[in-house]
């Protein structure tokens, strides 16, 4: 009884139109909108990250799709190249002479060596391959496009600058501190710092002028924790101080006000606002002059990098290609498909259509579910311990890679096949059984063909996952360095696309950053094609009952 009265009293007190109630409702709806905003923010964040991921890969990778090449006019002297054995000639010398021929004024071994650094070290091989393919050109003047070396490739594409900042941010900060003390000036084109020095007679007589100058210079940086700032003082400051003392011998033992020059980089920074030095990737300033000469003579071009697809791997980024990796991946996927497709379908048919419901089949199902979630690196350990050590299969070979990948793809195919089999309606089965088919005939002749599009879709998605797998391939050694595509087979050492990406990502040369990104774009392209085929199959052939 009391309960009723209290609740009645509460509801009586509760005025829905009161300002407090309105506020409450408002805040409740504000909360609702907040949650919605959080959701949008979360999705937006994920989308932005996806966008950054893709654009950064494109941004870093698009430059690798063109290669800077220089046109080399070569006279294929039949004295130097024997038409019977064109592959044996000294092409290094021929290329060298042809390229040096563009710059008759460059003399001296060191200069010439710097000049030759402009073209790729692979140029002689490119010329050799050209001559071997076109032996009728021997004795004629031919024009061959050879790639320039990596720094010039990057320079021409604008990836790396000719000059880089000479001073780091904290050095500039230190210098700013000095500038704000108003002691710097550039009276005659050279920045000097006005400072008070104590001309210690002992040091003067010992000739330690740089110690005097540094001692006095320290006064500008009372808070400095190290003595890095002494590099601001020019190398000739001590000499200038010495000259001052020699001109004013009476000042020794006294305090004098002198203006001492500061070093070149800081001098530039003070007068022009920036301090630049030549990019250390280039050997000398002359190389820019020579390279610009090539550009103005229209000898430099940037054609599409077919080499990326048709060259094998190389230590030089401008020559490195993916042919070995693509063929290795293709062979491994072929092996993977040949094993996992029939085995997966057969296993799935058994589990879905024939298996009795008992402990044995339960164990199999739990196993399949777990296999799908086992870390990929564990499959690599399995391949290493069993396929390589117990069975003695060759290391780095696509057959082992394919076998390991097939074990990883198997759960995907089995799950997809079971789903596809389940989707075939019972009417089909009953009709088949009704006209006298055996259970095997029913499954093989009627259910399986109808389930095939779904099975194929699942298989392609499984293979796409397998194409991107890296860790198991690393463990069985499928990251071999394959500099030629002549020796390819399922038992030969090979590399794969993702392991090639891993190897290139580890390489220090600047050109490999864009090569890696380009290789990733190629890999993502293959994945996109495979997924597109899967989606096409699903939409075109999969029947809804």
């Amino acid at each position: 009884m009391t309960d009723v009265t209290t609740s009645a009293a509460v509801s009586a007190r509760h005025d829905w139109a009161s300002n407090a109630a309105k506020r409450r409702v408002k805040s409740r709806y504000a909360k609702d909108r907040r949650l919605q905003m959080y959701g949008i923010a979360a999705i937006g964040f994920a989308m932005i990250l996806l966008g950054i991921l893709i654009t950064s890969l494109f941004y870093a990778g698009y430059v690798a799709f063109s290669t800077t090449k220089v046109e080399l006019g070569v006279y294929l002297d039949s004295k130097q190249i024997d038409p019977k054995t064109p592959e044996k000639a000294n092409y290094r010398k021929i290329v060298r002479n042809a390229f040096l021929g563009y710059f008759p004024n460059v003399k001296g071994r060191k200069e010439q060596r710097n000049l030759l650094k402009i073209i790729s070290s692979g140029a002689p091989f490119i010329l050799r391959d050209y001559v071997v393919d076109n032996p009728d050109q021997i004795g004629k003047l031919v024009k061959v496009q050879v790639p320039v070396s990596d720094p010039f490739d990057q320079l021409y594409k604008g990836v790396i600058p000719r000059q880089i900042d000479a001073l780091s941010f904290d050095r500039i900060d230190t210098f700013e501190g000095l500038r704000q003390q108003g002691v710097l000036s550039a009276p005659d084109g050279r920045t000097v710092v006005k400072m008070t020095v104590f001309l210690d007679p002992e040091r003067v007589s010992a000739g330690q002028f740089s110690a005097i100058a540094n001692e006095a210079f320290k006064a500008f940086f009372p808070q400095a924790r190290n003595t890095a700032f002494v590099e601001i003082l020019g190398g000739d400051a001590a000499k200038r101080l010495q000259a001052f003392v020699e001109a004013n011998p009476d000042m020794v033992g006294k305090t004098a006000e002198v203006s001492l020059p500061i070093s070149t980089n800081y001098d530039n920074l003070f007068r022009t606002g920036e301090a630049k030095v030549r990019n250390p990737r280039f050997a000398s300033d002359n190389v820019f002059v020579w390279f610009d000469a090539l550009v103005t003579q229209d000898l430099v071009s940037t054609p599409f990098t077919w080499e990326l697809f048709f060259n094998a791997d190389s230590r030089f980024p401008e020559l490195a290609g993916l042919a070995g990796a693509i063929s290795g991946s293709a062979l491994a996927l072929l092996v993977c498909f040949l094993i996992s497709f029939p085995v997966g379908i057969a296993g799935a048919i058994y589990l879905e259509e024939f298996a009795p419901k008992n402990r044995y089949t339960d164990i199999i199902e739990v196993n399949i579910n777990n296999l799908a979630a086992v870390p990929s690196v564990v499959f690599g350990l399995l391949g290493l311990a069993v396929f390589l050590n117990v069975f003695g299969l060759p290391r780095s070979a696509p057959i082992v890679g394919g076998m390991v990948l097939s074990l990883m793809t198997l759960p995907t195919i089995i799950v997809a096949t079971r789903a596809a089999l389940k989707a075939v309606p019972p009417s089909i089965r009953e009709a088949a059984l009704g006209v006298g088919a055996s259970k095997h005939q029913m499954v093989l002749h009627h259910v399986l063909p109808l389930a095939l599009p779904g099975i194929l879709t699942g298989t392609i998605i499984g293979l796409a996952q397998a194409l991107g797998e890296t860790a198991p391939l690393l463990l069985i050694g499928m990251n071999a360095f394959i500099p030629s595509v002549e020796n390819i087979g399922i038992m030969q050492p090979a590399t794969a696309l993702p392991t090639q990406i891993f190897a290139w990502a580890d390489s220090p040369e600047r050109g490999f950053v864009s090569r890696t990104s380009a290789a990733i774009l190629v890999l993502l392209g293959f994945l996109a094609i495979m997924n597109a085929i899967a989606i096409f199959l699903r939409q075109r052939f999969e029947r809804k009952w």
Partner: protein
């Protein structure tokens, strides 16, 4: 040779098919209707008996031929030449013999190597011919036996279906064989490791420096195999990854199931799936190329030192990878909550957010937890991102701005380019692999249990 044997076997199977068909038809003088099974089944019956056993023989032979010949070769080497050689030197000798046998001769190999190479070649060719002879003989014998059984009343269809059943059972059992293979191979190598290094040190030691053990004559030749820093690093990176992925994945799942219009859902869901389809090596490169330098620059701008291979960069990128995983599993869990619960909540006057927080999330919690556990298991087992973006040195720290290492990084770095199986350095990788496998297995089993149990509630 294998190719020729294969072609011969296929040809024999085809011949068996034709033979079976003809013999069956001959048995009923051409009236197929009098046969118990269709004539083709008689053909399939013989073909299966010809092909399957011989093919199994060939495959088993090929799998073990290499190891058997290696053992024979090792035994045949003169005892005085291999006395005192370590296992790796022996392996080197064997590979030298093989390369000499393959015709790749550098310098002048020792006389016993040349002899061994000749023996090796001889054994190889004997093995090949023996395999071909055995396989073809087996096929022919099987053909004769199977042929003798063909008769008017022979139940050929059942025979073929039995063979098919056997093959299908074998195929479905490959999953079990794989699991068994993983467990036994990891356990055997880990056992060998624990004979060299005490399990106590491995599980509770605080110092992990396995790389020192490369050479036997070095001062600290034993190496240090205390894996606690490795576990801590793994958990730290997994924690960071989950801290990124869980809120984002969960919130986007809530938005997509409860707020988003079908149109938005149709666009956003596939986009999120793209994140799941990107290979992990790409995420690793992304971490190295973009995320780590960005974090470093940000740290410098606010006067804070962040290592280029910090746990934060690796964990953060791993978190991005896990977003779609958590999102889709939570999505399934929330969508599976019956409409009646939603309607009940709305009927009481709750707003959408109140319904989600007080009704849907508690109801979907088991499913969401299962998804999170699966994601944790993924984060622990993820390899390429950490191999590329995390550190190699195992330092015992919980500071996310410092580089740490993980179990998977150690497995890969310990095994890349090195296949000697007699030192603790390589065996340690298998011990780590065993731990990794068992931990992820437990997480998966628990997660799958939770998910399944929860599903039954509303079915």
């Amino acid at each position: 040779m294998f190719g020729y044997v294969l072609i011969t076997l296929i040809a024999l199977s085809l011949a068996g098919f034709v033979l079976g068909r003809q013999r069956a038809l001959a048995a009923v003088s051409g009236t197929a209707a009098n046969l118990h099974s269709l004539p083709n089944y008689h053909g399939y019956f013989i073909a299966a008996w010809v092909g399957v056993p011989a093919l199994v023989l060939v495959l088993v032979w090929l799998l073990f031929q290499g190891s058997v010949i290696d053992v024979l070769l090792m035994r045949s080497l003169p005892a005085d030449k291999i006395a005192g050689l370590s296992q790796s030197e022996l392996a080197l000798l064997i590979s030298e013999v093989k390369s000499v046998a393959g015709g790749a001769i550098f310098g002048t190999p020792a006389a016993h190597v040349v002899e061994a190479a000749e023996r090796y070649n001889a054994w190889q060719s004997i093995a090949r011919w023996a395999m071909a002879a055995a396989a073809i003989a087996l096929a022919l014998v099987a053909m004769l036996i199977a042929r003798a059984r063909i008769a008017k009343d022979f139940r050929a269809r059942q025979g073929v279906e039995h063979v098919m059943d056997g093959l299908m059972i074998f195929c479905s059992a490959i999953a079990i064989l794989t699991t068994l293979g993983i467990v036994t191979s990891l356990a055997i190598e880990a056992y060998r490791f624990f004979q060299l290094v005490s399990p106590l040190q491995f599980f509770f030691g605080l110092n992990w420096e396995p790389q020192i053990a490369i050479r036997a004559d070095q001062v600290t030749a034993g190496g240090a195999f205390g894996a606690i820093p490795v576990y801590v690093g793994t958990l730290l990176i997994a924690f960071i990854a989950m801290a990124v992925a869980t809120p984002i994945g969960l919130l986007s799942a809530i938005y997509l199931t409860e707020y988003a219009s079908p149109k938005v859902r149709a666009v956003v869901k596939p986009l999120l799936e793209i994140l799941a389809g990107i290979p992990t090596v790409v995420y690793g490169f992304f971490a190295v190329l973009v995320v780590a330098p960005a974090m470093r620059n940000f740290g410098q701008a606010i006067g804070f030192d962040i290592a280029p291979n910090s746990a934060l960069a690796a964990g953060g990128v791993m978190g991005i990878m896990l977003i779609p995983f958590i999102s889709s599993l939570s999505d399934d869990a929330i969508a599976a909550v019956p409409q009646s619960l939603r309607d009940g909540s709305y009927g009481l006057g709750a707003t959408k957010s109140e319904t989600i927080i007080s009704v849907l999330l508690p109801a979907a919690l088991p499913g969401i937890m299962g998804g999170i556990l699966l994601a944790v298991s993924r984060a622990i087992g993820e390899t390429m991102i950490v191999v590329m973006a995390a550190g190699i040195i195992a330092s015992l720290t919980l500071n996310p701005f410092e580089p740490v290492t993980t179990v998977t990084v150690q497995i890969v770095t310990l095994l890349i380019g090195d296949t000697e199986f007699d030192n603790p350095k390589t065996l340690a990788a298998f011990a780590l692999g065993l731990v990794l496998f068992l931990v992820t297995l437990c997480l998966n089993v628990i997660a799958l249990r939770i998910v399944q149990k929860y599903r039954e509630q509303y079915d």
